[in-house]
Amino acid sequence: MFTWLLRRLFQACFVVLAMTIIVFIGVHVIGNPVDILISPEADQAERAKIIAEMGLDRPLWQQYAYFLGGALHGDLGRSFVFNEPALKLIGGRMPATLELAVTAVLMSMCFGIPLGLYAGLKPNGILGRVIMSGSILGFSLPSFWVGLMLIMTFAVQLGWLPSTGRGETAEILGVRWSFLTWDGLRHMAMPALNLSLYNISLVLRLTRAGVRETLPMDYIKFARAKGLSPARVIFVHVLKNIMIPVVTVLGLELGTTIAFAVVTESVFAWPGMGKLIIDSINVLDRPVIVAYLMMIVLIFITINLVVDILYTVLDPRVRLETKA
């Protein structure tokens, strides 16, 4: 178990290093930030001074070494636009994105599992079919358009929910969260639902497939032969078997959800990292782009690692194999 963990950690570090190179080289081919950031009226001396300040005159490999050294100290450069450390900028926006993504993933479980269970238990019923067709829509609808429609319906036409922003926030551990206030929750409802739509379909389908697969198993029949109530058979015997793949997939989806928050945050003007990266790309604020990408890579790798460990904890069969 320990050597396995160590090996996984080593692999993770290697991927992070590889990604720093890819990201750095990729980003440093983007146009020429000098042209954008320095006013055309600035004279030659002023330009040179700013270029030297930003380290843009040095060779690429030196810039990379400098970047890597900085990254190890948690320094990914200063934003050209905000003139603030990029990492601090990202960090300031991260809670908003994280709470949105986590809420979306939780929502997908709250909706996806019951719907999937129903569709799995009654595959030929009308409601079961409607649920399945609905899940196809959930997969194929572009999420930004769904977001627009949500705004149009619930904010513009019905006026039930606020259309944009985070609303009131409350502070815990020095970070501001929306989910702690009623107003914040109202602001979060639509973006979270929008972001979770794809995951709801995914969980729903996984659950349904799991139910269809588990129900004909002998151990389900045996559980019924013991005289257990249908509720106990479904919610303990069937569900426990399904939860393992569902939780694994959802865990892995958290990273993707954080990435797709880019779209939702743009639609609902949610002040998270996603909105920041779009703005940064539009003005070619390189340090912020790099910091965002490094952060995402780190989040992805951490999530993969945690899910792997959780998986071994959840599934007794896997647990045994890794011990042996």
Partner: protein
């Protein structure tokens, strides 16, 4: 007498004809196909169908800006789906937008299929180092969400139709490569490939004349799904302002343009292009879903 003879000597059915018959068995899929063909025709003949050339500034009248659907223009013409802020007829704008969306979606899917299939086949056929390299890249790429990869590439290359297509190709090729490799690995072990190798046929011939045709059915299924995904992704990128430039607006950009007016209740500028996008994607997916059932040999019988 002749009636009993028929079942004993069935007419030799071509695989294609059987495929068509099986496909036509699903009314939903046929409906999807019909809708998609209609959409494609509308897009191709946008110049003739559209009442207005939305990008000919001479035809636009700023006084007609943001008119709701059914309004009469200053010149007495009826805007079926209203106008945008520039006074463009939304219906014409959508036809032109559809054209760009479809071209980008289908074009990128074809390019990605070529690149991905070639690399997947080579990986499967040559194995060893080529296989390792190709598959590592595929794994790495597929472990990151498509939107992120596309975002990066467009951030690097800037906005243009070509760059959007390129970004979509880079996002999508990995999916083709992985699937094609998996199928080709199975086919490679078959006797007919061994026989071809024994005949000392050149590898190009073996790969493209023998391996490729056997990978085609699943490839078609993947390609259909990828076209839908590409159209959706392009729309998303354009909506975020990272896709096609304003001079060549796709459906996604039209939707983005109408976004700011939606909060004041002028829904049609965003709504109708969105509806067109939705219908396009869903119709392709309906066809794709059924194609998967028909072409997947594992599901047969």
């Amino acid at each position: 007498m002749s009636e009993t003879a028929v079942p004993n000597h069935p007419v030799e059915e071509s695989p294609f004809r059987r495929f068509v018959a099986e496909f036509a068995a699903s009314k939903v899929a046929l409906f999807g196909l019909a809708v998609f063909v209609l959409i494609a025709l509308l897009a191709i003949f946008a110049n003739w169908i559209g009442p207005q050339n939305p990008y000919d500034l001479a035809q636009l009248d700023i006084m007609d800006g943001r008119l709701p659907p059914g309004s009469k223009s200053v010149a007495g013409y009826t805007y079926l789906l209203g106008t945008d802020d520039q006074g463009r007829d939304m219906f014409s704008g959508m036809l032109y937008g559809l054209r760009i969306s479809l071209a980008v979606g289908v074009g990128s899917a074809i390019f990605a299929a070529c690149v991905g299939t070639t690399l997947g086949l080579l990986a499967a056929f040559f194995g060893r180092r080529i296989d390792t390299i190709v598959m590592r890249v595929v794994d790495l790429q597929l472990s990151f969400p498509s939107i992120l990869v596309a975002l990066m590439i467009l951030a690097v290359l800037g906005k243009s139709v070509t760059n959007v297509v390129l970004a979509l190709v880079i996002v999508e090729w990995a999916g083709y490569a992985r699937n094609v490799r998996a199928i080709a690995m199975v086919e490679r072990k078959r006797e007919y490939i061994e026989a071809a190798a024994c005949l000392a046929l050149p590898w190009r011939r073996i790969v493209f004349r023998h391996l490729l045709p056997n990978c085609l059915p699943p490839l078609i299924v993947i390609a259909t799904q990828q076209v839908a995904r590409a159209i959706a992704l392009e729309a998303t990128l354009s909506f975020l302002g990272l896709g096609v430039p304003i001079t060549e607006p796709s459906l996604g950009l039209l939707i983005a343009n109408g976004y700011q007016y939606m909060l004041s209740g002028k829904y049609w500028i965003s709504f109708y292009p969105g509806l067109a996008l939705l219908v396009t994607i869903v119709s392709i997916n309906l066809v794709g879903d059924h194609l998967r059932d028909v072409l997947n040999p594992r599901l047969k019988r």
